[in-house]
Structure formats: C-alpha cells, structure tokens
Symmetry: C2
Subunit: 336 residues, 2 copies
C-alpha cells in the first residue's frame, strides 16, 4: 500500500470512531455497542474483515486530494459521514431482507432484535449528519450547506432505490428499463455523492465537480453490473460465494431482466417460481445462450468506459490522482 493510503485508512477509522463516540455515554452504552459492533470494531469477528473496505470515504478523500488539496484531513468529517450513511442503509437493509449475516457476522437485528436495530440504523444516520456539521471548523459555512445538500440528495436517491428494490419483489412484469433507476439509487448515488463531495471539499470548480460526479455515477453502475455477472457466472473459488446464488435468491439483476425480456425458455422457467439448487448450473447456461451474458458484459464495458472517460475529464492530480485511477481499474477489472 502506498504512503497516502497508509495515512488515509487509519485516519478514516479514527474519525469514524470519534463520530460514533457521541453515543458512548453511561446510560446508552449498549446502544453504542450496537453501532461499534456493526462498524466492525467490537464483538465476535471484529477486525479488518468486519469493517469492510471503506471504499466510499477513501473515494471522497482521494478525490479531494486529487483536486489539489494537500490537507485532505479537513474533509475527514464528510468521509466519515458517507461511510456512516452507507452503514445506516446496511443495518436497515438487513432487517428488510431478513439477512442473518453481514460480512460473515450475525446481523444487528438478529443480535439485538428488530426494534433496536431500526433505532441503531437511525442513530448511524443522525451521527452522519452531525459529522457533516463538524466541517464548519475548516470550511466556510456556505460550503458546509452545499455539502449537506449533496449528501441529503444522495440519501433521497438511496431511499428511492430501496423503495424500488422492495417493490420489485412482487412484480412479474419487469424489464431492463426498470433496472437503472433502482441501481442508480441503491449503488451509484452514494458513490457519486462521495466523488462530488470530495471535489467540492477539494476546492474544484463547477465543471470538475460535475466530471467527478459523473465518474462516481458510472463507476457505481459498472461495479453493480459486474457484480451481477459474478453473482450468476462467477468462479466460486474466486468470489468466495456460491456462483449463481443470485438465481437461487430470485434477485432482479440485469442478466435476469435481460433474460426476461427475451420471453424465451428462461423467462418461462423464472415465472414458475423459486429456482432449485439442482437447476442452477443449467439455468445459468440457458440464460447465457439466450444472450443475457453478452448483453450484460457489453453493458458493463460501456459503463466502465464512461467512468474512465469522466475520470480523465476530471483530470485527477498527483499521487491521489494515480491512486484514484488504480482503484478504478481494480474495482472494474476484479473477478471477485
């Protein structure tokens, strides 16, 4: 890892802990425990595997630095805020999906019950908002208000995407055109918000901010489309999760929506109800033979090209700029 990443990652973790510590007071210590557990710092399985990769705050700080801001530390409260928003959405998502595991660990709602888990998610969101107000010690108040507006619009998109995702579960008439608004909200909005916030706090001009925003948007879409491919045709030994598991879970991913649009044998089987483990391999093959693999692969490539073009337009500078380009390559060329 480079020197800059070696500085940024521990700084992000320290800022996150400082923000969450707002709840570390005697009467609400168990509440604080729920949050530190979910963030990966305490409890069974705590450690680097449990925290996640902190991609979003890293994106924000690298963007700020790549806009020519050497003291990226001033943007740390915003970096913490985006990661806290991400985690607030994960805590609620796990309840909504009835997921029992997150990053290999028991989820908050299983451990402390649904009512406390809803409240824990709410608390993470509040702490994110409070973190944003801390920007006022380093930035003009106008910039802080602009930053808040960006973050909250991002959150509105997140909840819109979540609404669509949940509402799609009961629908049998979905097409590829239903995919983008959902994924745009669920995956791309927050990444795009990270880059826009980083550019704002890095002092970039309006057109550079716009280029970074677009970069984050396309990067998020490309990443999700790739994830959809891996979820059906990924190499289990590389991804670490059972390939084709998305078919078993009945997820409305892009390959599935493309397959449904063909109204062929795949669509006929999908309409008949849950897929069984024994059918998965054949069905993944059938879906590919009907053109869904090629379609999704082309789409991923298109989105990747648009992301790298936007990043080139943003013209990131210095070591941070190089890291941003490397990170993009790593995210988009991954096989796991």
């Amino acid at each position: 890892m480079t020197d800059l990443l070696n500085e940024m990652l521990p700084a992000i973790e320290a800022e996150l802990q400082k923000q969450v510590a707002r709840l570390d007071v005697p009467r609400t210590r168990v509440y604080h425990d729920m949050l530190t557990y979910h963030m990966g710092w305490t409890g069974d399985g705590a450690g680097p595997d449990a925290t996640g990769k902190r991609i979003r705050p890293l994106m924000l700080l690298l963007t700020a630095a790549a806009c020519g801001k050497p003291d990226w530390q001033t943007a740390l409260p915003a970096a913490a805020a985006v990661e806290l928003v991400h985690n607030f959405s994960l805590v609620h998502d796990d309840i909504q999906d009835k997921s029992e595991k997150r990053r290999g660990r028991t989820t908050v709602w299983i451990k402390w019950g649904m009512p406390q888990a809803i409240n824990a998610g709410d608390g993470l969101f509040v702490v994110a908002n409070l973190a944003m107000t801390d920007l006022a010690s380093s930035y003009p108040a106008e910039t802080v208000v602009d930053a808040m507006r960006i973050l909250q619009n991002t959150c509105l998109d997140l909840t819109r995407g979540q609404f669509l995702d949940i509402s799609y579960e009961k629908r049998a008439d979905l097409g590829v055109e239903d995919y983008w608004p959902m994924i745009g909200g669920k995956t791309a909005a927050l990444l795009s918000g990270c880059n826009e916030l980083g550019a704002l706090l890095g002092g970039a001009d309006q057109s550079t901010r716009e280029a970074y925003r677009a970069y984050g948007q396309y990067l998020g879409l490309a990443f999700q489309v790739q994830d959809d491919i891996l979820g059906i045709w990924g190499d289990e030994s590389v991804t670490g999760k059972s390939a084709a598991s998305d078919l078993l879970e009945g997820k409305n991913t892009l390959p599935v929506l493309a397959g449904l649009g063909k109204k062929g044998r795949f669509a006929a089987r999908w309409a008949q109800g849950p897929i069984q483990p024994s059918e998965v391999a054949d069905l993944a093959g059938l879906l590919a033979s009907e053109g869904a693999y090629a379609y999704t692969h082309d789409t991923a490539r298109q989105m990747t090209d648009m992301a790298t073009n936007s990043l080139r337009e943003a013209d990131p500078q210095g070591e941070a700029g190089q890291l941003l380009m490397d990170l993009t390559d790593r995210l988009l060329k991954r096989d796991s």
Copy 2:
C-alpha cells in the same frame, strides 16, 4: 382562532406538502403515497384529525415571531423539518411497538409492510434534512449550520430516548430515576429543539435562546407527566381513550415507576406479569393509595412551574408571545 394561527397553520401544511413533494415523481409515486398517507393528507380517514395538531412547527414559528421577527415565513422550512422528524419517529415507533393504529388510522407498516415502512420513515427524515437546507435562501449560511446542529443533536437525543424505552421493556429493576433520561429524549428533546430553533431563526440573543430551550424542555416533561396521569386516572369520557390503558399495556410511566419504588402491593402485583382488564380499576386505586398519584401530580406541577418561569424569562413579545403563553396554558391544564 386568531389571525396569526389562521395564517400559520395553512402555511405549515403547504410547506410540508412542498417538502414531501420531492418524492412525487413517476417511478416512486407509491413511495410518495405512503408519506402523504402518513402525514394525513391522502387515503382513508385523511383530514384534520389525521394530520395531528402540528404543535411542534407551531411552537417553532410562534417562538420566532415572539422574538420579534415579523416575517416568520422565512422559518417555515425549519418548521416543516421538525414536524417531519416527529413523523419519521412515529413511523418507526409504530413498527417497533407493533401498533396497528395511529390517530385512528391503519399504520404504514400494516398497509405497506415492514420493509417499506422502515424506508418510508427514513425518507421522511431525509426530507426533513433537505428542508433545512432551504433555510439558506433566507438566512446566512452560519445560521443554517447552527440550525442543523440543533436539529441533529435533538435527533440524537430522540434515538437515545427510543433506545432506553425499548430496553426498559425487558427490565424489572426500574426506578423513577430511569424515567427522566427516557422521557427527556422521547418527548422533551424535540419540543425543546423547536423552541431553540425558533429563537435562533427569530434572531434572539444567546440568553433568550437558552430560556426558550429550557422552556421547551420543561414543557415537554410536564406534558408527558400529565399524559402519564391521564393514562391511568384520566376520565375516559374526556380523554377518548380507555383510562388505565397504560396499566394494561405495561408502560413504564412515572406513576408506575413511583409505585414500584414503594415495593408495596402494587409492585408485587406488577412483578407477576400482565394486568388483566378486570383488575385495572382496583389497581389504579391501589397505586394512588400508595402515593403515586400525589407524587406524579406534584411532579407535573413542578415541571409546569419551571416551564412557565422559563417562558417568562424568555419574555415573548406581541401577539405571538400571547399565543405562546395561551398554548402553554392549554397544553398544561388539559384534561384530555
């Protein structure tokens, strides 16, 4: 109703609708429907009974006007924000408590399911935060950041109170000292935040802001303690809900906690498990005979005095000031 209230109440409703309309776009229309239903504007039973009394935004605007700000309209986005925060907490509260009715109508989670209801609550919170950023068109950015900090600290208190409330359900060792931090968060914090925001946006100096903040805090506590009395010894024909229903529901209200502290016959019965409808009248009498009614009544009076003293110290001006005093009297001398 006075001219000022006749102006403020429709202005609050219009601002709320404008803020919620951020979600009124084609793909997420059903999401928007959930919010307008909960706010009392649409669906079965829509109308004034379904919206609630909008006490919190009214408090905020009256305070701003009573601080000598004739154009209270500029504070409308903050007034909408506090009401949206209140409603976000109600939507989540109904899920956490498994409540099937709210203001006589089916709750959001019963109508649209738990996952969508969690998301609807999240959406109301996001819209509240976005409303706050609209203050920037009338106030200096420094004031907007201060306002955000007040609102978010209020929200942190809200989630803390909620944590305590949920965690108390499983505890048998509670005393009156456990009451204040819970109620301070659940009821008083937001009211106090409304008054502090109103004073800030009304241009009050620091000591006046502090007096309004304290007023809201004591008013909230006094109101809740009164509500606790009505929930056990209220006149059913006046309150509209079954008296002593708080005993049936096993709520940890102040009279109950005071009764438990006596370690007498009430405490012994309470420890044995849920109260049956046939015991309620006798048990309410027993609780009173052990001193809990007198204790709670004295406490309500104390808090009421502290609220009116703080309000006098804040020295509210003009028609708004008079209305604020009238509203305080009405809230604290109610029998329903």
